[in-house]
């Protein structure tokens, strides 16, 4: 009897331990080898863009928090920036500094989740909890400042809801001091572990041309070897005043742009963020943080596309105003949404276990993909 082989369709998600939310992947597998991946999204669709049409401009901010719920501060930052550009508001210097500090702290917190869950995806559970332990301290910093741990509603159009807490600077300095050895420990425990390298190096290689053509941005693009960071390449806020590097993937353990590079770029980025925070804390001027907040937000008719460097990449807000107090259109260019498109390309030819590894390394947040 002739041997008959057949491809199998494996349905990964929406309930699966490592799809990072409610993502459904339809895997076509031949044994354990991936033939094709079809992602199905939309399980977390909350009509953000439709909601916005019924909201006034300041009321949109709590909704932006809920998109990329691991980097809420940066979502608000982007939205506030877009509105300020549209309304031509000059923001006090102190506000900008605080925004940068908060944004970079948020970047560290977000990367910690990315790295920790990546370890858990690969099978190492301990780094996950170490990362969460450190993230908890950042969340505490946010909590003392604005009262919330995850969904802040802190950065407003033209200003901030609260000034810094008196203890904030001291606690941040303490955190930075304690955090640096922890990064080293994470490297010892996970990054340089031989099994981890075996699992991630040369897996899911994203060539730079493909990345640009697909519009992949942020750490994923940088891991492919492109020095592209909106903080430097399309500067906003006060980022030009600080001295920091942009880490890129060098292909140390395998090909450039593999999972290990994507992972390690995030580790290095945390260090750069710490540098920015340290400098910002030293330079922060005094001032009032609420003075520039407009009483009534009614931007002129027009449209704007503004983008910021979210922890996951280029977060763009496309806002069309029709001159009323409600936005006519708010479209969000979510970095994970774009990254998710390239995911099937990365997976082809690898194994089921690698799907998890690749998905973890591109670091998606479903709240943002589905909005």
């Amino acid at each position: 009897m002739a041997l008959k082989t057949e491809e199998m369709v494996l349905n990964m998600g929406p309930q699966h331990p490592s799809t990072h939310g409610v993502l459904r992947l339809e895997l076509q597998i031949d044994g354990e080898i991936i033939i094709d991946v079809i992602p199905h999204i939309g399980y977390l669709h909350r009509c953000f863009e439709k909601h916005c049409e019924a909201m006034t401009y300041p009321q949109v901010i709590p909704y932006t928090d809920r998109m990329d719920y691991l980097a809420s501060m940066y979502n608000e930052f982007g939205y506030a920036l877009a509105m300020e550009r549209l309304m031509k508001i000059e923001v006090p210097e102190r506000v900008e500094y605080i925004r940068v500090i908060m944004g970079e702290l948020q970047r560290i917190a977000s990367h910690l989740v990315a790295l920790g869950t990546y370890g858990a995806d690969i099978g190492a559970f301990t780094p996950f909890l170490f990362c969460f332990r450190d993230r908890e301290r950042i969340l505490h910093l946010f909590e003392i400042t604005c009262g919330a741990r995850l969904l802040y509603n802190y950065i407003w159009i033209g200003g901030l809801s609260h000034d810094l807490h008196p203890d904030f600077i001291r606690l941040t300095k303490e955190f930075i001091k304690d955090f640096r050895p922890n990064v080293k420990e994470l490297n010892e425990l996970l990054s340089y572990n031989r099994i981890f390298i075996e699992r991630t190096a040369n897996v899911g290689v994203l060539p730079i041309e493909t990345a640009i053509n697909y519009g992949v941005s942020g750490p994923n693009l940088r891991a492919s070897g492109m020095k592209w960071d909106l903080r430097k390449d399309d500067p906003y806020s006060v980022y030009h005043k600080f001295d920091y590097d942009i880490p890129i993937g060098k292909g140390e353990k395998g090909k450039t742009g593999d999972c290990w590079d994507r992972y390690y770029v995030r580790v290095l980025e945390m260090d750069e963020s710490l540098k920015i925070i340290e400098q910002a804390i030293e330079q922060i001027p005094d001032g009032d943080v609420t003075s520039a907040i407009p009483k009534r937000v009614k931007p002129p008719e027009g449209q704007i596309y503004t983008r910021v460097e979210n922890p996951r990449g280029e977060l763009g807000y496309f806002i069309i105003s029709d001159g009323s107090i409600n936005p006519a259109r708010v479209k969000v260019r979510a970095p994970s949404f774009v990254t998710m498109q390239v995911f099937p390309e990365l997976c082809k030819g690898f194994m089921v276990a690698d799907v998890v590894a690749i998905l973890g390394s591109v670091d998606i947040v479903l709240g943002e993909i589905d909005r």
């Binding site: 999204i41 939309g42 669709h45 009509c47 863009e49 439709k50 049409e53 550009r85 549209l86 031509k88 493909t210 640009i212 053509n213 697909y214 519009g215 992949v216 492109m226 592209w228 390449d233 002129p300 008719e301 027009g302 449209q303 704007i304 596309y305 983008r307 280029e314 763009g316 496309f318 069309i320 006519a328 259109r329 479209k331 260019r333 949404f337 774009v338 998710m340 498109q341 390239v342 589905d370 909005r371």
Partner: protein, 176 residues
Amino acid sequence: MKTAEEIFNTLKEKFGSSIVEFKADKPVEPFIIVNPLEVDKISLFLKDEKDLLFDSLMNLSGVDDANGIKEKDDKGLETIKGGTLSVYYHIESTKLRHKLTLKASTDREKPEVVTVTEVWKGADWHEREAYDMYGIIFLNHPDLRRILMPYDWEFGFPLRKDYKNPEFYQGMKVPY
């Protein structure tokens, strides 16, 4: 590095009537209005031309211009007849560091735009989203399905300004 106006002039020379208008009167961004059925050719030119090199699509968004005739039915719900739906393309060149906004307006009753997935692969899902939300048909798109809404959603396109919530979806009451 080129300004939007220079690019407009280059395009006007090359494509003539396909490039409709250059608009810079409204704040904050100037944009170029193009013919929706020629977008793919224009995009390919923008991507390949030596001094333009727009290699990355930042964003593609469908927009309901809501510029048609608004009618109210007996229940007080608004429907819009005529007018246009638009697609905005925000593109940039990572090598030459310039940005550009294109706008392609299409008929509301028969919204058809040519896809740019051949030029920028990243446009795929953005176009599916625009189709899902506005019903804009992207001609030649390889896989034009709904993306965020359920595949069997039959109550229209939710981001259109005259969209009405269904009463029931698969036996479940929609407004809770």
